[in-house]
Symmetry: C2
Subunit: 195 residues, 2 copies
């Protein structure tokens, strides 16, 4: 297959030679693993990638004397973009991360229309855009390029499935290796695919 | 002067030929102007640049039956990065925006150490990084490259001033033109400086 930079990838080979990373999680969530990974990347001056704060609609704030302002009423808002973005090797990086307990497929209900539109825009403007999908029952975490996601997203509105089969995630994605300090070492996949 | 891409700029000429943009604001804050500008850029498929949500430390959440979760206690956290980032012409874009009522200088207390460190990292990894500084009394909004900011930041710890003189902002910055739909048309400055 072809990638935005015109290089073909060795996806299927990778999927076949994947390693089990069953020692990787130890009860940490995908978000915690990615946050630790991003801290490691930042501290070692490898990349500048951050999770965006959770969007909150703030309705009521108290300003007590001589102490910090307190939010007394607020609501969670739906994100209009992905959760993570930043900069690596001069390139704009953008991704969403989701874990599922499902064994046979990744439900598309995990993603919102706005996020797909955002990923398409990022792709069109030359960014590196992807999803990180963890199947927690298998303890496997996949790098899934946005360009591979879009056809599944579109097909659900044309009579297609509302999910991506696990077998297709294995086929179109690359398993992300566990490293001691970079617990979800997705930059190693970016190095393979885009440089 | 030289910019990261090696092109020299026409800064001083621009500063001299600047136009007053006194019709631009009409009571809108800099943040509102930039949000409108970013929406325009996004809707016209020119760039993908968003403001990050305000970071909130969520302490207590109620989950009422049959209605949305309510945040009952939360606190504002200090941002560890800048407020805005995104993608334009294949490049990672990152900036902070501040307005001041000061007439003679821009106080460095408007910026935090973490933000400076972030801007330095972005600069080192090949991103386009800058500040947008508005002097509200003059109704002037400047594009101020991060590389121009760092020496002022450092000098305050070596007996230097705790602010950047207005005259230096005029000299080292470029005034950002007001456009009807792109109220703070900073991409026009990026086009001049970096491409």
């Amino acid at each position: 297959m072809k990638y935005p930079n015109g290089k073909s990838s060795s996806f299927r080979t990778k999927a076949v030679t994947q390693q089990k990373t069953s020692f990787s999680n130890r009860g940490m969530t995908l978000e915690e693993d990615i946050n630790e990974t991003n801290s490691y990347y930042l501290n070692t001056n490898k990349a500048v990638i951050h999770k965006k704060p959770t969007p909150v609609q703030i309705v009521k704030v108290d300003y007590p004397k001589r102490s910090a302002a307190v939010i007394k009423e607020g609501y969670f808002k739906q994100a209009s973009t992905t959760d993570y973005n930043g900069l690596y090797r001069n390139k704009y990086i953008d991704f969403e991360a989701k874990q599922t307990k499902n064994k046979t497929s990744f439900p598309l209900s995990n993603i919102h229309e706005h996020q797909i539109e955002h990923m398409q825009a990022v792709n069109n403007h030359g960014g590196i855009c992807f999803m990180i999908i963890r199947f927690s029952v298998y303890d496997e975490t996949y790098f899934f390029p946005a360009v591979k996601l879009f056809p599944y997203w579109d097909s659900q509105f044309n009579g297609g499935k509302k999910s991506i089969p696990y077998s297709k995630i294995k086929e179109d994605g690359i398993i992300i290796p566990f490293q001691y300090q970079a617990r979800v070492d997705y930059l190693s996949i970016i190095d393979q695919l885009y440089f």
